[in-house]
Point group: none
Chain length 212, copies 4
DNA sequence: TATGAATGAGGATTCATTCAT
DNA sequence: TATGAATGAATCCTCATTCAT
């Protein structure tokens, strides 16, 4: 499967993948047009269906491809030995925001694919997600040292609050990303704001934080 | 406009609205098929276009309808004089979860419509959203008494953490909703868990909370 | 046939006929919409199909009606004992132009119906035309006194030139009619111009005209 | 535009053009059915919309095509240096009748298009007509030598009578064309009859014609 | 008799997929 | 292997006609 595509020169593969990602990251599965994809990729209609047998196969190939690239970059960059949840989430949050800027089409494609509800592919995507989960990419709270958390607060609830805070921040910034260029200044802002939240959480939910 | 539809017997109106909401809450604007809608509603193709002149008009009618029902039920039930953010968000969160169970199709439709990007309707939806915003439905943090918050923590950041906590909780429960029936037990669970988070936040982010 | 329609009060009949004529004189048979007709007539959809069984029947009724009114007014006003072709065509031409202004919808309807090629009605219209012709409305050149025409010119050819001249003039003026109001001034212009052509023809094609 | 169509084999282009012309020369723009066109052309529905993006585009393409063919054949065959109006109109009339027999669908299409009132295309057709007019195809009476006309008759009125005579003759013959085959005999009849009219007009409206 | 809601076949257009070259 | 012309099912929408009230 996909062997015909994989025999192409890497540059051509990339060119086709990028074109398809661009289209699929903007439109839903059904609305995305193969015409637009072949035009953006600079190949013929027949070629696309020669490499991939169908639109569905192309989509699922892209899903695997994107999943692999993103998980590699994501989990390859995260220090899973960091047992302090704040430092781990700081990494994760910055990494996610960086990936959004580095691979916007992939990230948007992944986000769209995650909620895609077209019957033609929904089943396959859910299956693939199960496989990914099964591979056991460590969760944000695996192997976390909870001993630093306040004792008068339920650990899991504290972890949830911390996670939701970082998720909320990442979402807020993601929405802003569309309008602003990504540069050193923006990255520094992220670091400084994230550290602000870390400080608050450390103060409030960790042992030995200041008295309110 | 829509006068022909509004002359129908209420039961029939409801039957058509429900059918359309079911389809539009599952599929995007473009993918949603009028065939499926008329089949679900048990009416003929011609009838649909007799009541609403076009698919677009039907969609925008539904948007207005849903917006009205949800804002009425939502803002009609919220006590905006409550100046303690925790109590206000407790109300909002419970209400949102209740609405999700009471009107799942409406809530999903509203969520989908909010991010709908089809050129045919995007402009209209944005316009309607402006009108809604202009009507001044108060924001979650309008008129909030921030004097209760810890003084050694930035107010806005504290409010963000609190909001994201409730949003995170609501999202988590929303995902679970599809599989469980909504009943007294579930509602009690929500109250108890939300109160758990409230207690933690009060302890950590409010003046005079316990020392960690 | 049409008995139900003919039982209506004359004013209502007229109102319906006028509305239908307005629509059919603007649009072709197929494109003319029964919706537009009932709206213009201020009656319900059902009523129209109650009076006339179908769009086709309505159209054919109108054709008969218009044919009758126009031939009555036309042949009722023409003095067929006038044996001078110029005076007869002068009458006919002025009458046609007057009718165009007096009954524009009828004239346009008749003109459109004459070239209507929709299979649903073409046969019926052609049949009706045969009947009309069979009734023997006298032709423009019936009973004409050709003795006044130059002897060195073929009578039939001379009559053709004369007829085509008047037809050409009438067509030219008809096109101009849409933009100008019909009034005394316009009528006088017609008379004066037509007399100009008559004078030329008398001079050129009649015995004893001036030498060129 | 139309590049896809123009890449087809000439025979296929012709086959499609002829099918479309046949349908559009019989029905109005709106009533003409693309189904009928594709059946007549022996191609699939999709193919038609592959070559031309829409029914409108097909129609406007045909208009340009027909206009070009007809004006080329028409103005390519007319000797505009002929300053005698009778000889010029003799050419024009014969040419028009020949074209009617050679390209009946094109001529009928052109005639229908000229009075087409459908909003979807009316504007475009009028624009194209302006362009054509602007190209300055000389009018029937441009550069005419009026010095040969009788001095006791208004020049413009004389020219009108002459034009209307030839138009009338062409119209009469056009109506007869549908039933008769076009052959040498018919063409000879036209020449002889037209020459008959020319002789009469020369005798009556030109200087030095015989005394009536 | 009159109403207007309802029907469903028909029309233009789109698009994934096939296939001759 | 690559091309892009061709297919036809599916989609939104229209409108003469019917029928319950």
């Amino acid at each position: 499967m996909f062997s015909k595509f994989l025999k192409l020169k890497p540059e051509k593969q990339e060119q086709i993948i990028n074109a398809a990602l661009k289209v699929f990251s903007r439109e839903s599965y059904k609305q995305a047009s193969t015409d637009e994809i072949v035009n953006a990729a600079g190949i013929s209609k027949g070629a696309l269906f020669h490499y991939f047998r169908s639109k569905k196969d192309l989509y699922l190939f892209l899903y695997d491809y994107v999943t692999k690239v993103l998980t590699d970059e994501y989990f390859g960059s995260i220090d899973l030995s960091e047992r302090d949840i704040l430092l781990r989430l700081q990494q994760m949050c910055l990494l996610k925001l960086s990936l959004l800027k580095k691979h916007p089409d992939m990230m948007n494609f992944a986000a769209k694919a995650f909620v895609e509800e077209d019957d033609e592919i929904k089943g396959n995507i859910m299956e693939k997600n199960k496989e990914i989960t099964a591979k056991g990419y460590s969760n944000f709270q695996d192997n976390i040292d909870t001993s630093k958390l306040r004792e008068d607060v339920d650990d899991q609830m504290a972890l949830n609050i911390i996670r939701w805070t970082f998720e909320g921040y990442a979402n807020k910034e993601q929405a802003a990303l569309r309008n602003h260029p990504m540069d050193e200044v923006l990255f520094d802002k992220w670091i400084s704001e994230i550290n602000g939240y870390i400080e608050i959480i450390r103060k409030c939910l960790y042992k030995g934080g200041n008295e309110p």
